[in-house]
């Protein structure tokens, strides 16, 4: 399974939640599969999905699901200690780990080599770290939502991208419609 297949499978779970989605092809895929005002698409700023989602989770009580990638987490590795030490149980970080930088041509990341992000998250102090295979992602995500405990999910999948159009929506529109859902 590649990332877009995971996104298709978990779209019904994501639909009713606040979602912060990683830059590049992941956001394009989610946008094409099931665009919702409750999706915050990152158009730039690689690495910060986990931080944006975490700030959102700390600021308000609704559950927040962040769809991140292994390459982006490696870009902002300092995010994991911050998350671990400021637990908020409405936060789920779903790291879709395909061992590659998908948006830039599938170059391998260190997470696809020796580095295990689940071990990094645990070492940083994250308490509920779940590793699953791609096909189990929906089950793991629903279990994390049901548990009402802050959870880091590392979903292992194959490298590859679906061909989806670029998001042309204005960033202020993305932000404005998202904030309206937050307060709804």
């Amino acid at each position: 399974m590649i990332r877009s297949e995971i996104l298709k499978e978990i779209a019904p779970i994501l639909r009713d939640q606040l979602v912060v989605c990683n830059i590049g092809i992941p956001s394009q895929e989610l946008h094409a599969i099931d665009d919702q005002p409750s999706n915050f698409y990152m158009l730039g700023t690689m690495g910060l999905a986990s931080s944006i989602g975490f700030g959102l989770a700390l600021a308000q009580p609704k559950p927040v699901i962040v769809i991140d990638g292994d390459g982006s987490v490696l870009t902002n590795l300092g995010t994991l200690p911050t998350i671990a030490n400021n637990v908020t149980d409405n936060y789920i970080l779903l790291i879709i780990d395909n061992g590659s930088y998908g948006s830039t041509g599938d170059q391998p990341t260190y997470a696809g080599m020796k580095t295990k992000l689940e071990a990094v998250a645990t070492a940083c102090g994250c308490e509920n770290v779940v590793t699953c295979q791609a096909a189990e992602t929906g089950k793991a995500l629903q279990a994390a939502l049901n548990s009402k405990k802050m959870t880091i999910i590392v979903s292992k999948c194959e490298s590859g991208n679906a061909k989806m159009p670029v998001i042309t929506m204005d960033p202020v529109v993305i932000r404005d419609r998202f904030m309206k859902v937050v307060v709804a």
Binding site: T45, S50, G55, L56, A59, T79, T82, M179
Partner: protein, 168 residues
């Protein structure tokens, strides 16, 4: 007048309840003061761009955020300022210690001080420079301005403003 208390009072009065910090010796007092206030949730960041991500999320969650950081880190935040804070039009007061200015004892700090205002100007970020203690009187107005215009705004605070480094 206690500057640390005045700055924190102004943050609270402007309903800023989410503050992230990366420490600087000059900012230690204001960070301590923020930690003492129940009205402010303080979350230390490991890096300034990470902190701006937290602030962006907190803003979308309905809080008024602020970041407290050192000017030497401005370079690592340029992409975040351009493609997140400015692109999505979010307000962000940035209280920045302006290392490398008058009374600076560490020569290397001068190197980023040379670029600080130029970088902020290049990004069209409204920038205020606190050099004398009385300059803090404008802090309240600057915060109001920031949330009026939905932009990142820099407040550079140099060593002279903070009263030197304690040994001068």
């Amino acid at each position: 007048m206690n500057i640390d208390r005045k700055i924190t009072d102004d943050l609270v009065a402007n309903d800023i309840s989410f503050v992230t910090t990366v420490p600087c010796k000059q900012l230690a007092g204001v960070i301590d003061e923020i930690d003492r206030r129940d009205e402010i949730f303080h979350i230390p960041s490991n890096k300034e761009d990470e902190g701006m991500g937290l602030c962006a999320g907190a803003f979308m969650g309905g809080k008024r955020p602020a970041i407290i950081m050192q000017n030497t880190a401005l370079g690592v935040t340029l992409n975040t300022l351009a493609t997140l804070i400015q692109y999505y039009r979010m307000p962000l007061p940035m209280l920045i210690s302006y290392r490398g200015e008058l009374r600076e004892p560490v020569a290397c700090q001068v190197e980023m001080a040379l670029h600080t205002k130029a970088l902020l100007a290049q990004l069209n970020i409204p920038t205020y420079h606190f050099h004398k203690r009385a300059d803090v009187d404008e802090f309240d107005m600057i915060l109001k301005h920031t949330f009026m215009c939905n932009k990142p705004v820099a407040i550079l605070t140099d060593a002279n403003f903070w009263g030197g480094y304690g040994d001068q």
